[in-house]
Structures are given as C-alpha cells and as structure tokens.
Amino acid sequence: MTQRLVVIGNGMAGARTVEEILARNGDFTVTMFGDEPYGNYNRIMLSNLLAGVETEEGIFLNDLAWYQENGITLNAGVKVERIDAQAKVVHDSTGVATPYDKLIIATGSYSWTPPMKGVHHPKRGYHQGVFAFRTLDDTRGMIRYARDHERAVVIGGGLLGLEAARGLQNHVSHVTLLHAMGHLMERQLDPKAGQMLQASVEGKLGIEVITNAMTTEILGKDRVTGVKLKDGTVIECDVVVIAAGIRPNTEMVANSGLPVERGIVVDDQMRVEGHPDIYSVGECAQHRGNLYGLVAPLWDQAKVLADHITGRNPDAAYHGSKLSTKLKVAGIDVASMGLIAPESDDDEVIVYNEPKKGVYKQLIIREDVLVGAVLVGDNSKAASLIQHFDRGTALPEERAELIFDIGGPAGEVSPAEMADDAQVCNCNGVSKGAICGAVSAGCKTVGGVMDKTRAGKGCGTCKPLVQRIVEWANGGAAEEDPAASWYVPGVPMPKPELMEAIRRYELKSVSAVFDKLVPGGEHDAKSKMGLASLLKMMWADQYIDERDARFINDRVHGNIQKDGTFSVVPQMKGGVTTPAELKRIAEVAEKYRVPMVKLTGGQRIDLLGVPKEQLPAMWADLDMPSGYAYAKSFRTVKTCVGSDFCRFGVGDSTALGIAIEERYQGLEGPGKMKLAVTGCPRNCAEAYVKDLGVVAIDGGKWEIYVGGAAGAHIRKGDLLTTVGSADEVIRLTGRFLQYYRENANWLERTYAFVPRIGIDRIREIVVDDADGIAAALDAAVDEAVQAYKDPWKERAEPVTPGQFRTSLPLTVLPQVPVRA
C-alpha cells in the first residue's frame, strides 16, 4: 500500500534521502517542505559561488523538474511550524495541515551568531552589511553588498570562515579574518598545523589573520563601519561575515515534544527515540551523542534510512562515522582525521615539518593503529591515511612510508592498491567498487562514469583519481578506441581517407557522405557539423549547403546563449571603428533594448541577449558585415596601436591586422582561428598566444608565431619564421591557415595541431615549400577567399522556412543578469 511520506527540510540530507528511497523503488507519495524557496542545491558549493568559480545554476542538484518527474510535491519556501505526532500531521506556515504515515526531519543547521553588541538591527534582522554564510540567499546578499564595498571582516577561523575570507577576496580589496581561538581550525588541527596554515593564508593569499580575537561589538549606526575586539582594538570595515559555527535547527521539533538534546535523538535506524514513524537525518540528528557537520556521514545515514524505510533491509544500521576531512582550505591542502593531540604517553607521535614550503604532517599512532593525522600543504598521502584510519589496518613498519612516497609514483594512490569499498568521491560517497561496477557495466568513459555514479560531481577534487580508476578498470592502459582516429564519430575514416573518398565520389553534401560512406547509410547528428566544415573547405562554392548540417549558430549567424537568445557582433576590422559606426551600434542597441553591450576579448562590440526573430532586422539596421563571433572559422585579428600612434611602435600593426582580416574574414576551419598583430615585442595585442600572431621587430621585419592559445589552454606560439614585408605576412598567413584547414582534426585547435605536426615540419612545408605544395595551398585559400559571402546578407530572404522563428519555450528560463 502506498504510504504518505513527509520530509521536513529540503537540504542536502533530506533530498539525498529521498533520492535513495526512489532508487530503492520505495512505495511512497512524497511531500517535501523546504524553508528555502528553491529546489535542492549543493550547499558546499556556496563557497565556490562566492569565489566566483561556480554559477548559481551549476550548484543545483535537483531542479524543480526533478520533483515533478518523480511525483514529489515540493512546498518550497514553506516552513513547518509544528509536528503533531499524535495525530500524525505537520502544520506549516501557510496554515495547511499535511498528514503523514512516515515523517523524516532533515532541518539541518543555522549559522550561529556569538553574542556581540550591535549585530542585530531592531528592524532588519542583521545590521546592514552583516551576513551569515549558510544559504544561497546569504551568499547572494553577500556578493551583492560586497561588490560595492572595500574592506571585509570575517568572524570565525574554521573551515567556513576561511572559505568565506577566500571568496570575499574576489569582491573586496581587503579581508581580515578574526578567530577567537589561539590557532586556525583548532578542532581539526594541532597548534603547529594551525600556525602553518595561518602563515600560508597570510603569505600566499594576502588575508590578514588575527587569532585570540574576541569580537565584542559591531560598530556603525546605519550600517557597519567596523568591529571592536575585547582588547579595545577597532578594525575598520564595511562588510562583516559571521562564520562562527552552526547549531542544529531543532527548536520546532523540541516544541513539538520530540526528544531533543544537542540534536534530535535518533537510534541506529535513524528513528527518533520513542517515535517509530518519525526519522531524522543530517546535521540536525544526534546519533550516539554525536552530531555531524559534513556531508559524508549524512550520505551514510541517508542510505541506512532508505534501506530501512523501504523494507529493502529493515535491519540496516548506522554505526556512526569516523570523521575525516580532506580539502583545500582557501587553496591550501589540508587533511585531518581523528585525534589532533596524543592522549597517553604510549601514543606514538610522528611529526614532519618544513615551514618554508608550508608543509606539516603529524600522525598519532596507538598500538600500531592510526588514530589521528593532520596534514597541511601536501595531501598526497591523505587518501591512504584516511583508509588506514577508517579501517584500523596495521601500519607499515617503515613509518616514513605513511607520510612520504618512498619509491612509488609520486603523490598518487594506485587504483590497484585501493580496497573496493574505499571512498573515492567524498562529496557523493562513491567507492572504488561503484566506479569499477559502472565500468564493467559498459561505461568506458570518465564522463560516462561520472554521470552514472555522480563521482567527481561534488567539489571535483577527486576527478583525477576517478580518471585513474576508470583507466585501470578498463584494463590498465586505456583501451585503444578505433573511433579515436576518425575525423567525425559517425563516419569510420580518418581525415585523409575521408577526403580521398569525398573527392573520388564527388560527394558535395553531408547527406551524400552518410549515404555513400557509412555502412547502412546511418546519419549521425554529432558528425554533421564537422562534415559540413570539411566539405565547404574542399568544394568552396560547389558545396551543397544543407542547412540542417549546420549548428544553430551557423544557421542563424549568431552565437546561442544560455537562455536561447543570440549575440550580434558586427565586424570591426583590427578593432578599429569610427564615431559614426559607434553611434549606429548604440542606436541599434537602444532600439532593440539589447540587455547587454559588451566589449569582447577580440576587440569588438557584442550585443548580447537578442531573440532569434530580431536578428535580421538588427543586421539591417546595423548595415555592417558579420564579425563571425559564432562559427568554427576565422574570428578576429586583434591589433595594438602600433607605429601609427604608439611611441614604441616599430611596425604598423593596425594596418596589417586590418589587411589580414579583410582578406581571410569568415574562412571556415576545423576550429576557430584567432589572430593578432602587435607593433613591437611589448606584445600589447597578445600575439604570442594566438593561433597566428605577428610581431613587428626592429628593421622593418615581422615575426610570425603559430599555435599559441590563451583560452582554456595556454600556450606560447612557436616562431614560424621572420619575414621582411607585410605582403609576405599575408601570404604565409593564408598558406599556414590552409595547411591547418586541410590537415587538422575536427575541433583540433592550432595549439594541439602545431605540436602534433611539429613546428620544424610545418616550417618546411609552409615556408620552405619542401613538399612542393605551397602553390596549391595558396590557390586553395584564394578560392575560399573568393567564395566569401557576408552571411548577414541573408537577412532579406530567409534561406529556409522559419529560419529565424523562435524556438524558445514559454516557460521560464534561467535569467541572465542584466547590468545597467
């Protein structure tokens, strides 16, 4: 019979428990209450959100659709105010009573505020400028406020305070961390380790740390102007973040007459004492006297509860967790487990200390079993130490092996050595066994295994280990995948063979290639774009253009954005524009109410957030050529001021950049091509890190660099050659680009292509014409240049029916922030 399950608290433990129950096909209709007005997000990631390395969408674990799909009624933004255990109903803040057969309480914790004068404002809750660090709303508020302020004080030198301090550095210029105790993270680290961490935080990160700092008062009338310490010191600041600890959210539960001590008292099945139909998990639960404030134990609890409540294993029992943490605190490796100080004379203490490098390691061993460890600055041995600690296995005779890699490969646990149930992903509680299971079930890629098991999908620090285990489970050296050499995944041929066959059979359209060259004639969506690019390069104006073979960007000549709108980037050769053009762009932006106008890294103006159906009209009003900000093609030539105006300039970089862009605009390739010309080796246009970069040097000469990159990958280009005239630069540019177009793999940028072929070999072909193909390359690129048509001219007559019709759904999409 289907039972009614009510869950109070939609945080990490509550939602995870429900996921575990669903995974066991529990027969429940589920209703969840969450005080926060959202689906379920990864609270851990708030640190990353604050630090600007993660976006809001990126931290959601389950969005609202997930609840819908699983038939869960989510009352987001609704607080449960009382549990009536007698009548088996919960009463919420909207006045509704919801009956249950089974109840799970997962109300988590709140951020604790130490007693201080002036922290609260009579009308507003916290004083203006004072923040806790617990929820998404806290974090949003903090970011919004900190952006316009200068100096922040963080109260609390534990893990959370350190993360907050680090994150705030992203928004304010000065951060001070106050800690009431004698050293940082005093609950996980011994004094020596704490001092080491402090030195690193101060030296490497530039965060000022004050220990033994008792904050007694928040200063400021309308908003914060500073804090005052017990010894009278005043620290001026305009933002205060309190991260002084957490307290379980149990008030409502206690008021409802359920047993609460420090937390809600539960037994080994996570059942609330004396209430067979009520359970509690997460930070609010007290198990055998312990409260847990990290996610790993919560995952264990969720599993036990799910096993028990679904009847999968009614005797499943939670025995408590041994707490270990392995993390990067504000960019510094820290691991800690068990004791931080010896408890008896017989405890063996092993210490290694290298202050200059900021490395400190301490082990506490009792009767040959590891009972405590602290590592700062080097976590390479943390995984194996945690394993020894968790299992209580016998330690090696040679104690040094525990803290150093003696002989073995540096800093890496080998997958073979790891036990099957060793936890690899500490955020999501995924074991080595689970990863190997996914691999043997047929999931051979790292990404596939991550999707399946969720390993590596929390904070991400375990990704390299996940990769090693997948490779190992695949049989050591990763299996040789025949498809790896194919140009596109759906046509079983490497590029040279494929080009050969295309020429032989005169295949001029993408569907012709599938029909002729794929056994069974199977079409493949993921191959279309690569083939379209290749065919266009090979056949120039003879290419039969099937619009569905193009990616949406190339179908509507704009770059699709996260909300389904597009960007319009007019051409601006060499980054040069005129007041009249600027005016026109401004007028168009105003007329179409463009939500964001942005200068791009390639020296152009980006009009972002344009609905598809408005593109043709905007192009017409702009009446400028397309700047190709969307295709796998020649993009821009960035230039510096050069000899025109710059007092250092030795070459006219602007003129040359414009000439190159004029000639090769819109040229398609296997990847995008970004170029630059700079007027002297001071490199203001960053030519050393472009697919092709030109640098003027004294004596009227130009150096040409190829294979540089400064995107997700960073590489300084290799010097191809030095030439004596701008004309030669233009000719060699075309020849190199054509050689790249013909020989690079699909999506292989020049930074991978150039090292693969070797710069010497490229020089032989492109500069010295050792293979005798230079003339052919020149002719081919010339033909492509002749075939150029400005795609924005397509505006008058759509090429296909509904080419610019909206595909946008009516439902609400993620909102892209609009800056004034």
Binding site: E57, A65, W66, E69, D451, K452, G490, S511, E522, H523, D524, A525, K526, K528, M529, E546, R547, D548, A549, F551, I552, R555, I560, K562, D563, G564, K612, T800, P801, G802, R805, T806, S807, L808, P809, L810, T811, L813, P814
Partner: protein
C-alpha cells in the same frame, strides 16, 4: 506518449528537412522535427537539462542533440542518452501535406 487533441500545426513545408520548429499547443511548447527519412517526430521543446531550445538542436534519424550542452535524447522514446531526465514524446504525422499532432 502523451495524448493530445488532434491539431493541425500547419503545412509540412514549414519545416525544412532535417530541422525542427517549435509550436505552442494546448499551453505546451512542442518541437516538431522533420527527419531526413521523411518522417516526423514531436517532443517537448524544452531541454530538461537547463532549458535549452531543442528545436534549435541538430538531429539525425534517431536523436536530437541540444544546442546548449550537447546532451542527446532519443526522438522516438524521449529517453536521454546521457543520464538526463527523459523528454515527452507526442504522436505526430503528415496528413495531406499538413502536420497533424495527436492521435
């Protein structure tokens, strides 16, 4: 499959071969694709991953690839090939040059 009252969406020629277009039907947004083998498919228009416009995706005769993060869904069953939530599929066919949605 979800049931919908039969609705004529417009002429088949509104959708170029190998592409998709979005239609609003009964308050739902539905992406209809015209495969290169001549048949039609209809699925929900919104990518369950992060709301991408599926009609702007690329297709072959079995899957659609969302343009935003390139996750793929089977056009016939709505199942994800990449561990995402499934999408709704709707009955659709051609009837004398018109696109007919629903049974």
């Amino acid at each position: 499959m979800k049931t919908l009252t039969p609705t004529v969406l417009g002429p088949l020629s509104d959708i170029p071969p190998g592409e998709g277009r979005t239609y609003a039907v009964d308050g739902e947004m539905i992406a209809v694709f015209r495969l290169r083998d001549g048949s039609l498919r209809a699925v929900s228009a919104v990518c369950p991953h992060k709301g991408g416009p599926l009609a702007d995706g690329q297709i072959d005769n079995s899957i659609v690839v969302c343009p935003l993060h390139l996750f793929a869904w089977d056009l016939a069953t709505g199942c994800s090939q990449s561990g995402q939530a499934p999408i709704n599929v709707y009955p659709v066919r051609e009837d004398e040059g018109q696109i007919l949605l629903g049974e």
